[in-house]
């Protein structure tokens, strides 16, 4: 069974540019989460999809961040325009369903905004 994959693994962009991160969850996992770790801090929740619907986006920092999960499969997280404080590692995780709690994480995308 393939794990959660994320693309790209690393992105370096200038302040003001746009970046789109992609996450492919484990096939059949309805739940998809985005998390972020900024330098020296703990991993923090951004948002949660159930299939194609946003269940909880309370962790999204501001309206420069837009997440989508068209068709309930892969998800994208777009940052536009990027700011310096957006630098960090963005993790995607998926979870099977209601009676399973463990989340399977991807390797993360390291975003550097210069």
């Amino acid at each position: 069974e393939a794990g959660v994959t994320q693309f790209p693994s690393h992105s370096v962009i200038e302040k003001g540019q746009t970046v789109t991160l992609r996450c492919d969850p484990i096939s059949g996992h309805d739940n998809l989460y985005w998390y972020r770790r900024v330098m020296g801090k703990e991993i923090k929740f951004l948002l949660h999809f159930v299939k194609e619907s946003k269940q909880d986006e309370s962790g999204m920092p501001n309206n420069r961040f837009l997440a989508e999960r068209t068709g309930g499969t892969y998800s994208t997280l777009k940052v536009q325009p990027a700011e310096l404080e957006d630098s960090g590692v963005y993790f995607c995780a998926s979870r099977l369903g209601r009676n399973s709690y463990e989340q399977y994480f991807g390797p993360g995308t390291r975003l550097t905004v210069t």
């Binding site: 998390y35 703990e42 962790g59 979870r95 709690y101 463990e102 399977y104």
Partner: protein, 114 residues
Amino acid sequence: SQKIEQNSEALNIQEGKTATLTCNYTNYSPAYLQWYRQDPGRGPVFLLLIRENEKEKRKERLKVTFDTTLKQSLFHITASQPADSATYLCALPPRDGGYNKLIFGAGTRLAVHP
């Protein structure tokens, strides 16, 4: 607000000894608690989940305890090996429960020396 505390200092132990990591939380009583392992450049990997009505959970060389009175979980690795060297993260569901986001501690780095 909910807060999770893990020892920020690295834990250094000799191979073969038992490593014990601590997770303390405040301000609420979670229905369960999870432990994840994270290696450099990788995403967190689920290890164990313990529910509020369970005192102890074991998996191979791993043991987790959950003291809801002390609001503390202990994570033990017996007969530790250099391959156990990693950062270990404690994670809890939010106060409003459900199957949504996880709240992570900052993690404790474990180094097992030969």
